[in-house]
């Protein structure tokens, strides 16, 4: 069984091993023992609530209970941009209109902004390649929403997730070539490496500060504004199903979209329900016929754990197997939080 749980100090080596497999494109998970060690320490302090709420970084690992292997990682930062400025481009609209000449021109505009400062961020999701099957990816990504539903007071109302932007087959970012390169005069990968070590804000000093018309950019750069990297399409879809939307903020380098959601409108917050764990009867789940899988988490901040179960909450109760109860660190009579794995369509 796979369980997603709060990271612990002893997971550092496994985390490092995973970081070596990530490759470029994810700036928050680099194989750097110092950086990762600091981050795990902050994560442990976050779950233990020994640091201020806005400094917290809740990191989760997915563990295979059979072989004890760490197969995935993901995180929620309580607030971005409070130590180093957090930059994005925001896409706005400007209308240039002359009644005399009968011209009405609607232009998209890029504004360099720190608007998302203070938002909570979903980040650092990585699943080991040999575990990329079945519902594992969903479990890993969605565990965070269940955590947020259980502990909404730990987060700001605004939740964001930065998505990797479009690159062509050669790893070339048309947006960077059309914009950033003129101001940085260095390769995209060098920029990427600098952002990885926390220098993003200093690069942003070199970005033009005045609003830019998108129409000034080459066609191929315009086309990829708000487009994700091909490999990120499924991850984007998952988040959108949970109530995150592209609202016009993009990465300043590759124009990858930032998905945003209001915590109160996340599917998990709207639809997840608490349930009391029934004593294990062995039978109910043994014969459950094609039930929709359900995300189930305990309600314990310090030792948060979540699994995917075939059981469903009915009338405030849920029937979990002994193994599942163990994975969640709970027993009959305890309260758990449940959410169907997949969103249902509205009945309209």
């Amino acid at each position: 069984m796979l369980v997603v749980r709060a990271i612990q100090e002893h997971d550092l080596d496994a985390l490092y091993t995973m970081a070596t497999q990530v490759g470029s494109g994810m700036t928050t998970l680099k194989p750097d023992m110092k950086m990762l060690g600091d981050r795990v320490a902050i994560a442990c302090a976050s779950f233990a609530e020994t640091i201020a709420p806005e400094k917290r970084d809740y990191m989760f690992v997915m563990e295979d209970t059979v072989n004890k292997r760490i197969a995935g990682v993901c995180a929620i930062k309580a607030a971005v941009g409070l130590e180093e400025p957090f930059y994005n481009y925001r896409i706005g609209t400007l209308v240039h209109s002359s009644r005399e000449l009968k011209v009405f021109t609607r232009m998209e505009t890029l504004y360099l902004s720190n608007d998302l400062t203070g938002s909570s961020e979903l980040c650092s999701l990585f699943l080991a390649p040999d575990y990329r099957i079945g519902n594992n990816g969903k479990l890993l990504s969605k565990c965070r929403f269940l955590f947020i539903s259980q502990f909404p007071h730990l987060f700001t109302q605004k939740m964001i997730a930065e998505m990797r932007g479009y690159q062509d087959e050669n790893g070339r970012s048309p947006f960077y070539e059309g914009l950033g390169r003129h101001f940085f005069k260095m390769e995209f990968d060098d920029v990427d490496a600098l952002t990885a070590v926390g220098k993003k804000s200093f690069i942003a000093e070199l970005m033009p500060r005045q609003p830019l018309y998108v129409a000034y950019l080459p066609k191929e750069a315009q086309d990829v504004v708000g487009q994700v990297h091909k490999s990120t399409v499924p991850a984007r879809r998952l988040l959108e199903q949970e109530g995150m939307h592209y609202e016009g903020y993009v990465d300043i380098f590759d124009a990858g979209p930032v998905l945003q959601g209001r915590v109160s409108e996340l599917r998990a917050v709207r639809d997840s329900v608490l349930a009391v764990v029934d004593p294990d009867t062995d039978m109910a789940h043994a014969c459950a016929p094609e039930l929709e899988p359900t995300l189930v988490s305990n309600t314990n901040l310090r030792d948060f754990r979540m699994i995917l179960s075939e059981a469903a909450a009915v009338n405030g109760h849920i029937d979990l197997s002994t193994e599942e109860q163990q994975a969640l660190g709970c027993r009959a009579g305890d309260t758990v939080r449940t959410l169907t794995l997949n969103a249902r369509k509205n009945n309209v």
Binding site: H96, S98, L101, V103, H182, E205, P208, Q210, L212, Y216
Partner: protein
């Protein structure tokens, strides 16, 4: 001999002929009879006006070949570019980009829509017939406007500018326009110029053109290449104006990216080096006396005249000896003041 003088009603027919042959473009002559008549009448009213503060006056000069009484050139000066609206141009700005951490510091060139030229006096409509282009009278025509301004400073601003036509291709397209104005106006360059009547002071400009700086590195190469470059038809004017002291680096045209030359009057040779001398009658004293060429002008109204003369140097002197014929053309008598500058 050639004389530069204010345009007169009798010149209208000749101006129509000139307009028919002169370059297609926006900074030259009006094209239709109606507009020519308007321009001539406005000029006559301007020369006749009592002026305290430069305003709507527009002074049109012609270069006349006295032999044959033919018009071979035109040049104009407007008292205030913004008398009828705000005159818009792009200012060449340099933005410093600094990142201490990365040790990077560089400059970015940006174009900012600005209205700074609004209060300047504007030179325009410079045209000389092919036969005169290589003669000093081309320079006389160009400078006569400034000599007039030196004689009647209250009629003009302390600062002057001249927009010169930018680069266009064989089809009348402008690479600069295609990269910038077209995106906002949604029309071809020549259509836009026609629609707006070649003006740079229309409300439509503030409605449609970008209000935020345009970062030059983002413009296509072809557009960058023509920024501040002149149309071949403007080379003569460009040479004359830079020799005069005009500078080309600060502003460009918002439509075609052509250069806008500008200067404070203190930087203009005609202003700083011209001398007011008393005219005397020239009586050739000895043969072979070395002579130099001067532009000489007189009168600050509709009687304004300017000619070129070759006479002995007047450096340090206070009078200039002019042949009777020149006195006649200038409409001055011995003892009258004239303005002289080396040409």
């Amino acid at each position: 001999m050639y004389v530069v003088r204010p345009v007169e009603l009798a010149d209208i027919a000749a101006l129509e002929k000139l307009a028919a042959v002169s370059m297609p473009g926006v900074h030259t002559l009006p094209k239709t009879r109606e507009k020519i008549v308007q321009a001539v009448e406005a000029s006559i009213a301007s020369f006749g006006a009592q002026v305290d503060i430069p305003s709507e006056e527009s002074y049109l000069f012609v270069l006349e070949a006295l032999a044959g009484h033919s018009l071979v050139g035109t040049a104009a000066i407007h008292a205030s570019a913004g008398s009828n609206g705000t005159y818009f141009s792009f200012r060449n700005d340099v933005i410093q980009q600094v990142s201490r951490d990365l040790g990077i510091s560089h400059s970015i060139h940006a174009l900012t829509l600005c209205s700074e030229l609004t209060s300047y006096s504007q030179l325009s409509s410079f045209y000389v017939d092919e036969r005169v282009q290589s003669r000093p009278e081309a320079a006389l025509l160009s400078r006569a406007r400034l000599m007039f301004a030196a004689l009647a400073p209250q009629r003009f601003s302390d600062r002057f500018f001249v927009p010169l036509a930018g680069v266009t291709d064989d089809n009348g397209g402008s690479p600069f326009w295609d990269a910038l104005g077209r995106k906002f106006f949604q029309m071809d360059f020549l259509d836009a110029e026609r629609t707006i009547g070649g003006a740079r002071n229309r409300t439509s400009i503030v409605e449609l053109m970008p209000h935020y700086p345009v970062y030059v590195p983002l413009l296509p190469g072809e557009a960058q290449a023509v920024m501040g470059q002149i149309h071949p038809s403007g080379e003569l004017a460009f040479g004359l104006l830079t020799a005069e002291g005009f500078e080309a680096d600060d502003y460009i045209d918002i439509f075609d990216g052509g250069p806008i030359l500008q200067a404070h009057k203190h930087a203009l040779r005609t202003m700083t080096q011209s001398m007011r001398c008393t005219a005397t009658l020239y009586r050739p004293s000895r043969a072979g006396e070395p002579v130099v060429q001067y532009a000489v002008a007189a009168n600050a109204g509709q009687q304004f005249r300017a000619v070129i003369v070759s006479v002995p140097s007047i450096e340090g002197g206070i009078s200039i000896a002019l042949p009777q014929e020149v006195l006649d053309v200038l409409q001055v008598a011995e003892g009258d003041d004239v303005l002289c500058v080396r040409i």
